[in-house]
Symmetry: C2
């Protein structure tokens, strides 16, 4: 069973965490999901409190590490030496993903040096000013690292993960519960097109 | 300022509540959002704890009432006499919405008698067996009552709400933060088409 660790911090964007957590919870016997943080619990932007399962230093023992987002939470986390130094990620052995401003953290860690990446559109300029090569795509893949931008792109990110670890049948079993009634074919086409375009661009890196 | 009440109960589906709550939190000075329940806090399907702001009987003082969902949570809520009798809704004076299995509750309350409605596709047969006229659409509107099916249809439901209370500019200001990078035009077309189709069908009721 794969170990998936979600990296959380204070002032995280609610939907970026909760939609990710819900999608990951839509399949049994695929992976165990742990919430990792620097404290026993972290508070969301809208005031929700989420208990962490393990200290963030345990990212090293995860097969998959996913970074959440937060307009104020990410900059604060990046200023936190304990947080940044504990994020000892290894893209040679782990699958790594981020949603929205989570890619700022991967960029700051040097994991996306001279590589294309994405974030939510309203954070594009800030990431560019840090030297990020920001693409106007919902999902950008570099080997084992996938960045996604715009909260709903979590469907693409977790879909990519399901296909990398399992297959398209696993992806569908996760996403289909969330798709609007009567629009399954439309979303399936959009999701596969988005993921396969990102994988195809990755081949040329 | 409009008062929006979200009706919560134990064993609610995480994303149905959290995506709704996050979307409603994406606009300032439009509405105040209260979480209503029978207890001081309710637990989600995945074990999250959410504090309620007011007792469910205060639905009567809300301008908008939104019903969340839960595969096990909804049937349990419908068996709870305190819960059902407190849901004194008035579609002549209130806007009422539901996501996924939330429409079972509106149907049980008699608010959608002989009216079309929707739910998540895997709950369609169960709602039909209760006598519901289930449509294969993501959003079905009857006057002031809108039912939505499939969690991501929350974007349509809250979009409908923003257009009913304000305008399309308010809808865009809420939804655009969540749209996948590079896919804004595609989603705007999908969202307007879905909402306007539902409104158009409503005119013929």
């Amino acid at each position: 069973m794969y170990k998936v660790g979600i990296v959380l911090f204070d002032d995280f964007t609610d939907v970026d965490f909760f939609l990710m957590y819900d999608l990951l919870g839509r399949t049994a016997n695929s992976w165990t999901v742990s919430i990792l943080g620097t404290k026993p619990e972290h508070n969301s932007h809208l005031g929700m409190t989420v208990k962490t399962d393990r200290h963030i230093s345990e990212v090293v023992s995860q097969d998959v590490v996913l970074i959440t987002s937060g307009k104020r939470g990410v900059p604060a986390a990046m200023r936190d030496a304990e947080f940044m130094s504990a994020l000892d990620l290894n893209p040679a052995k782990q699958l790594i993903g981020s949603i929205c401003a989570g890619s700022f953290i991967l960029h700051e860690l040097g994991l996306l040096k001279d590589k294309p990446l994405t974030t939510n559109p309203d954070a594009k300029a800030a990431l560019q000013s840090m030297g990020g090569d920001v693409q106007d795509f919902p999902l950008v893949i570099n080997g084992n690292i996938a960045t996604a931008g715009g909260c709903l792109s979590l469907v693409y990110l977790i879909g990519w993960l399901a296909e990398r670890l399992f297959d398209s049948s696993k992806r569908k079993s996760i996403q289909n519960h969330l798709i609007p009634a009567g629009q399954l074919a439309l979303f399936e086409e959009l999701i596969t097109k988005t993921i396969y375009s990102a994988e195809s661009a990755n081949l040329h890196n």
